[in-house]
Symmetry: C2
Subunit: 217 residues, 2 copies
DNA sequence: AAAATTACGGAGTGATCGATCCGAATGTGG
DNA sequence: CCACATTCGGATCGATCACTCCGTAATTTT
């Protein structure tokens, strides 16, 4: 069973947790291997042996984030919920997560790898994060499309425009959280954004939402 | 008149323009003095003689940005406009500016100095940018307050919540622009956000049964 | 014209970056 | 007990970081 050779004396998950927090607080560029060494208590050889490079460690840390705190946005893909309910839960859930004081502020995906790097060396990092943002956006768009299909949203709704409004607000929450905007204001802001989600036929929308709630979370 | 001594052989404005573009594309941390030297054609001695430090150059470059492309948001403070019109012009104007291909994408203020730096050395940089974001926010809030006063907005409008919705969307536009979202979608998104400006009190009390799922470790 | 003042190009500062190498340590399969 | 494989701590690599120093050039002031 054991892969032969000296077994590693640390747990991968613990290292990823520490690395995730550092990258979350400081971003990829600003986080140094020296800090990662200190935070994990490991030597360079151990880190490079396990993850190959700083980029490799970052990508593993992002996966760790997506499986943990970052998973709050996955509710958007729950087709058992009404589209509006799914979007609402994603926004409020993300705000709750980002303002949770038990870990760094904001969203790792929204904050990392936005600006271009000096060389081409970390273009892969930016692509990794940008791909995740694109996925979130696609999921929101699918919800908007569903909303139009179910009649929750007016038929003449600009799908890409409405998607950009929701996604843009979600992305902007991270910056606001880092700047200290209170969670209360952000929740109220999410409600304001969702207010645009008015139904032309409130009856059908309400029935669908009720069904979704009855189905449970 | 002349300040005695050898006159400088370059124009400050030209250097600030080049530096602004580099910082705009890459952010403060990722931009090196070597790049700034190459882009400006100046030596280290000239740059440090004129600006004192990398931070000093950055702050001057930010001022240059705010007086140039960044000035598009100033329309928000124009009290000759109706509050809604002022917000609308700011949003659409900012989108036009950020998607203009004659300069780097996005907004320098929204993109720079969000994540924490490794040391305390550039805390001043983050504070400079964050202060500008706070000013934009305050101006938006003043518009919302005016809107309630003039009756454009419902009296029971959550002022800070509505402000956060507009400001959050504005901040999120930068990330979307960097990710390649078309200007058309963003303009439509701004309209969608502004649609809430007319929305009467039909706002649902945020049904956020939200989660507790959250935050990993 | 001489002195004083400022800007210039370019080499060089210590520090830190990500990444690698090495010998010792600790396992498994024969 | 013995190769073999893998990980360990620690020293170290060249490159690059922001920044400074020095000798020289170009002006104004005396």
């Amino acid at each position: 069973m054991s892969p032969a050779g000296r077994p590693r004396a640390f747990v991968i998950e613990g290292v990823l947790e520490a690395a995730m927090r550092l990258f979350w607080e400081q971003g990829y560029e600003a986080t140094s291997m020296a800090q990662l060494r200190e935070a994990t208590g490991l030597s360079s050889a151990s880190l490079y042996g396990a993850f190959g490079s700083k980029q490799g460690l970052f990508e593993r840390a992002v996966e760790h984030y997506l499986a943990g705190p970052g998973s709050v946005t996955d509710v958007i893909a729950d087709e058992a919920l009404s589209p509006r309910e799914a979007v609402a839960r994603m926004l409020h859930g993300s705000i709750d997560m980002q303002t949770d004081t038990s870990h760094p502020r904001g969203c790792l995906v929204a904050l990392s790898g936005i600006v271009r790097a000096p060389g081409d060396d970390d273009a892969a990092v930016r692509r990794t994060i940008a791909a995740r943002r694109a996925m979130d956006r696609a999921r929101i768009r699918a919800c908007v499309v569903r909303g139009v299909a179910t009649g929750e949203l007016a038929g003449e709704t600009d799908v890409d425009g409405f998607t950009s409004m929701i996604h843009g607000f979600l992305l902007g929450v991270s910056t606001q959280v880092c700047d200290g905007t209170p969670a209360r204001d952000l929740h109220a802001a999410a409600d304001a954004a969702l207010a645009a989600w008015h139904a032309p036929s409130a009856r059908a929308a309400g029935a669908r939402a009720a069904d979704a709630r009855a189905a449970g979370v």
